[in-house]
Amino acid sequence: MTDRFDAWLETGLRDLEAAVPLGDSMVGRLAPTELVRVSGRRTRSLRPVGPLALAIALLILVAAVLVPRFNAAGPAASQSIAPSTGGSTVTPSPLSSAAVPDERTIGLGPFSIVVPSSWHMVTHTVGTTPGPFIFLGNVAIADPCPTKFLGVQCLRPLAELPPDGIVVTFDGSTTTKLPNPTPIPTNEPLGSACAGMAGERELAVLFQGFGVTACLRGPDFAANEAAFNRLVASIPGPPPPAGTRVTVAFTIPESGITLSPPGDAVPATSSDAAYELCLTPGGASCQPSPPTSIQLALITDTSSGLVKPGTLVWAMSWLGVTTCVFSGGGPGLPGSQAPVATPGQPLCDAYTFVDAHSGKFIFGYAGPHH
């Protein structure tokens, strides 16, 4: 049995290894001699434009079209947010009613943020995966790489921050994922990009889908830190659905997974805590939208054997979604809404199971929509 197990394991690993998609970008990938020229702390930005980067760039361009002020003076121009023009999608949101007079709410793809009205904004349209795409600052800034990706210098929208200056950088794609509903900025070690702008302090907030960093220069940090905190706090996140109990046993078709009523079982963790795993990097594999439901149930999985029969779980379900694979974790789009299917596009039902006693992610399943 052991020999057979070893053989099965090795064969399985080799099969999986052979199936790893190398991607079209392999041919066009930068050679090391090119890489080393731009190497630095943020080597994540070194990839050449590949399909995903192109997709993100396309989304950015779409966003730019939807937000005319982004493009009003070209990608390298620094745009003041203050003057509002007709036709702009810099739209007041419910948040704006609470905004103080010198602040403005601006729409960024699926969500909005509040920033001081005097701040400037530029988009970075020559992206990598997932390079910086929006810079905000209280000083004049410009797209550092308007035509060509040049490595770490693309993270610096100005040569030098003046005293009391701040530059905020959005990393990643806001179009696909969701912010953490309770983000807390943290002090980070000063990165090379920030240090290269004469920044003296760096704050960061990590959301599911993107990161936001603020590079600040003193001596007066307080006002800009407050502005950054306000910006971060203004990003809305969707509340999870309330946890319920499965009342009638049902089997997820073609999965071998059955969810049964939990009876009087009392979970040691809450449904909110289970959902929180979706918001935690490496926490749980979830769909990029709020779950349809979070239900307490006893699970039996006859197909994989990955869970002990009768385990009490929080079963998060996403029914009729178009994303038939799991993200590495992440909540849904603000205020929303599973992606809308296009004609002919297959729909899926996805489930994520969290042990209701230990609070640990067990596994996720996605199959045809029923």
Partner: protein, 164 residues
């Protein structure tokens, strides 16, 4: 691969040649550990950046082994990087390539932490001893042994279910 690796330890051999020779398998190997092909490509590229900074590697250095160890260490530091850069955690993990091939094993592997997957890959696919894995990953041999034992305990039910 051994011949290629030996040839590539020749300082005269270009780093670009090493890149062409080694990146595909390195990406595949790292994808098994981190579970995401795109992330694996990112890590492999970072490993080559490190190689470029140290090039040429010492003659006694096996290029493939050097890359594997550096790449795996980068992968195991992923959690720390994720804390710094949230986007790394948010890329959609398109595991359809794995689910199409061996969904049961893949789901079993997902239950293991990355260090255990790394140790498993190094021993099962590369034939490294536990001592060598311990050296490569900077942990005691007993730790590696416990990782591998736990991994086998986790994966054996998957196998037994398959043959039932």
């Amino acid at each position: 691969m051994e011949l290629a690796a030996k040839a590539l330890t020749d300082p005269a051999t270009s780093l670009d040649a090493a890149f062409r020779a080694h990146e595909p398998w390195l990406v595949r190997r790292l994808a098994l550990v981190v579970g995401d092909a795109e992330e694996a490509r990112d890590l492999a590229q970072q490993a080559f950046v490190r190689a470029a900074e140290h090039w040429p590697l010492p003659p006694e250095q096996d290029v493939a082994r050097w890359l594997a160890v550096v790449g795996l260490r980068l992968a195991l530091n992923e959690r720390r990087r994720r804390r710094r850069w949230g986007f790394l955690a948010i890329r959609e993990t398109d595991a359809s390539w794995a689910l199409d091939v061996n969904p049961d094993l893949w789901r079993g592997l997902r239950l293991l932490d990355p260090r255990t997957r790394a140790a498993l890959v190094l021993t099962v696919l590369d034939g490294y001893t536990q001592d060598e894995v311990a050296l490569a990953l900077g942990v005691p041999r007993g730790t590696v042994a416990s990782w591998l034992s736990r991994a086998r305990d986790r994966l054996r039910p998957v196998f037994e279910e398959r043959i039932r």
